[in-house]
Symmetry: C2
Subunit: 246 residues, 2 copies
DNA sequence: TATGGTTGTCTATATTAATAGACATTTGAG
DNA sequence: CTCAAATGTCTATTAATATAGACAACCATA
């Protein structure tokens, strides 16, 4: 096997151990170590990355902290978890259905809620008057007990007055809409960007600092094309991918 | 104006100055400093982030290196560049058209090319036999002389034998397809993930280490639904966003 | 032209990241 | 049992990161 030197950048604000941890995490997600179910030995990784073994150990310790690997003295470092949830994005995008059977247990938790006047940009998206009341729900979604996204959702307050209670009862936006008389809705548009995790991401999504967040800004409309929800959702980038099928 | 403390993480593999540089870059892209066209004074930023002024200076120096800001002694730090290109993703996704008038000058450069046998996963996507010959083009796309994506493109070698020359001549996949007799094609599917920039990203896209990359894996098909191109494109996350309109 | 606000530069110190080497401990296989 | 291979732990040193303080240089403007 040819073992080319793998490129890492020095002296540039991102510690070597973190760069290496990110690479190994990606390799695990890509199935590169599926043959053995283990990460290569520390000395091998150190040679591949051209760093000291202790630096590799720092990277592996971070991955162990995330629950991705588990080091076993005398044996090697086992891969514990290897997951990347796929979220299809289409006209009928729904979180719970989208996960499908990729996870057994799906949860939606309400972190907080408020009623507030819509700022200009939001009002424009929802096609309501600036300052008109909107209901804001901060939610956390989990799959198999692991947090996979945190979202801020806005709804026109006039039309969906009981949104908070309906979501709390069901843990699902789709179910809440149905409880409030909206049986169907469509995804009108989705914007996707990426950024570094902020403090709230780290806490709510149980990430380690330096993690990457995929941000999806979505507008949902009813069958008549009237906006019913604007949502900003943040996903850990190493756990999910989006698929757009045309 | 209330100036809440902005959260930065210590001792976690990403240097404070880099975290702060990333935040300021994002704030610039979000238009938060449009009123003045300048970044707040170093002392103000230091207070906001809860760090020493020298740490903020390191962050600003990095942004100046990227050409995003320019410090002027006695006056302040001017915002030089503020861009986030929007890429619509749809059935008719095309790079050049997608940018539209967001940039004046659009270029497509061929970095390298090769003909090689298709590995299993690629062959499956392109619906050809494993090991069948494919043409691989490594390309770099620029808008207004700034690199905005680097892509690896695969085409079935039998059908698109002159792809390399056609692309070199036009700098456009769409034009190359037309030159080879394919007048129209559709985007069949797109997968989007995010990761840290690797060494090649840093070099080709002129990024600073720690930058985030949006990765799009796309399959294009001809009007009969036959796959004609599989592409993996990498975009600097702080320069672009994807929009999916349904 | 005097002043306040801003960036530029310098010195010094403490903490963190990375390297280097040595040796202990555990496991699996011969 | 013995040995090779792998992870665990320890000490020491160097380089990078971050803080602290002082003052110079420059700019706009009152």
């Amino acid at each position: 096997m040819d073992v080319g030197q793998i490129n890492v950048q020095r002296q540039n604000g991102v510690a070597l151990w973190r760069q290496i941890a990110d690479r190994i995490r990606a390799s695990i997600a890509n199935g590169e170590y599926d043959a053995t179910g283990m990460v290569p030995p520390e000395m091998v990784l150190a040679a591949q990355f051209g760093v000291n073994r202790h630096t590799v150990r720092s990277a592996l310790a971070a991955l162990a902290q995330e629950g991705i690997v588990r080091a076993m003295q005398g044996r090697g470092t086992l891969i514990e978890r290897k997951e990347r949830l796929n979220f299809p994005i289409s006209q009928r995008t729904r979180f719970t259905e989208g996960i499908g059977d990729q996870a057994r247990k799906k949860e939606g938790l309400l972190l907080s809620s408020a009623e507030e006047p819509a700022p200009a940009a939001l009002a424009s998206s929802l096609r309501i008057a600036e300052g008109a009341p909107v209901i804001r729900l901060e939610t956390l979604r989990k799959a198999d007990r692991r947090p996979v996204s945190r979202s801020t959702n806005w709804f026109p307050a006039g039309r969906f007055a009981g949104m908070k209670e309906a979501y709390e009862a069901s843990g699902s936006i789709t179910a809440a809409f149905q409880a409030l008389g909206l049986s169907d809705y469509w995804r009108f548009s989705t914007e996707i960007t990426a950024t570094h995790a902020d403090g709230a991401d780290l806490a709510d999504l149980q990430l380690s600092p330096g993690a990457i967040i995929l941000v999806a800004r979505a507008l949902n409309v009813d069958p008549d094309g009237v906006p019913v929800q604007y949502a900003v959702s943040r996903f850990p980038a190493d756990m999910v991918q989006f698929t757009i099928a045309n």
